[in-house]
């Protein structure tokens, strides 16, 4: 897994800077445990991890896999903005997020995106994790294509207009 910016920065108090973020794109299988490890810290009472996975059909039509394409130079800062957004919006809970998104072929049952959020308590961790995946859907320039079963026909999935990063 290619996780960028996996660096902790000491703040003035000698602790770990909670705003240091983790965001990555990768064309390889994502290990959810490795993403969780990016946000683990002693002050966390909860880590919520979300996996978006390839289902075996789209609106009932069987598919073989999904194909993801990203505008890397724009998608990576947009993912980083989500990580920063968690640290700012849930600062009181000391929340930290990491998000890794796939490109290329993602087979049925495999993760296209893994989001991990740590926070002092579970409510904020759930809430922030939900915010990341909901916001990602409109702020990150990534596209997916259904590759249908039996013959390789495919179609880009109807998406949502892109908005400024949250």
């Amino acid at each position: 897994m290619a996780a960028d910016a996996n660096v902790n920065v000491e703040d003035d108090a000698g602790g770990v800077d909670m705003k240091v973020a983790r965001a990555a794109l990768t064309d390889a299988d994502i290990d959810p445990r490795a993403v969780e490890a990016l946000v683990a810290r002693p002050g966390a009472g909860a880590i919520v991890t979300f996996l978006g996975v390839t289902r075996d059909n789209t609106d009932g039509r069987p598919i073989d896999w999904l194909e993801y394409e990203a505008f890397d130079e724009m998608a990576l800062p947009a993912l980083q903005a989500l990580v920063d957004g968690v640290a700012e919006r849930w600062a009181g809970a000391g929340a930290q997020a990491a998000v890794v998104h796939r490109t290329g072929r993602v087979d049925i049952g495999r993760a296209s995106v893994v989001i991990a959020v740590s926070a002092a308590h579970r409510a904020e961790a759930f809430e922030a994790c939900r915010w990341v995946i909901d916001t990602l859907k409109t702020t990150v320039p990534i596209w997916k294509k259904d590759v249908w079963a039996g013959g390789g026909a495919s179609a880009w999935v109807a998406g949502q207009a892109m908005e400024g990063a949250g």
């Binding site: 978006g52 993801y68 394409e69 990203a70 505008f71 130079e73 724009m74 998608a75 800062p77 998104h101 296209s112 995106v113 995946i133 990602l136 859907k137 409109t138 990150v140 320039p141 990534i142 596209w143 997916k144 294509k145 880009w156 999935v157 109807a158 998406g159 949502q160 207009a161 892109m162 908005e163 400024g164």
Partner: protein
Amino acid sequence: MVSVRLFAAYRDAAGRAELTRSAVGPDGRPLTVGALWAELVGDHPALSKLPPAAAVNAVLARFEHVLAPGDEVAYLPPVSGG
């Protein structure tokens, strides 16, 4: 000149992911993001549907944004990540 990036359905419609275009129109004036799209549609009719978003140098830009030589314009179909 400006470089153009096309993604997903737009890339398929144009048959290529990147192309280079003049930064000025036939009247010699700088093109906007929207005017350049209209030129592309002329060359690639399959691109008829107006994109919901565009970016200049990897930052979201309005269709009225005036292009400068060396800019990279990306036309962004509706996104479907996650």
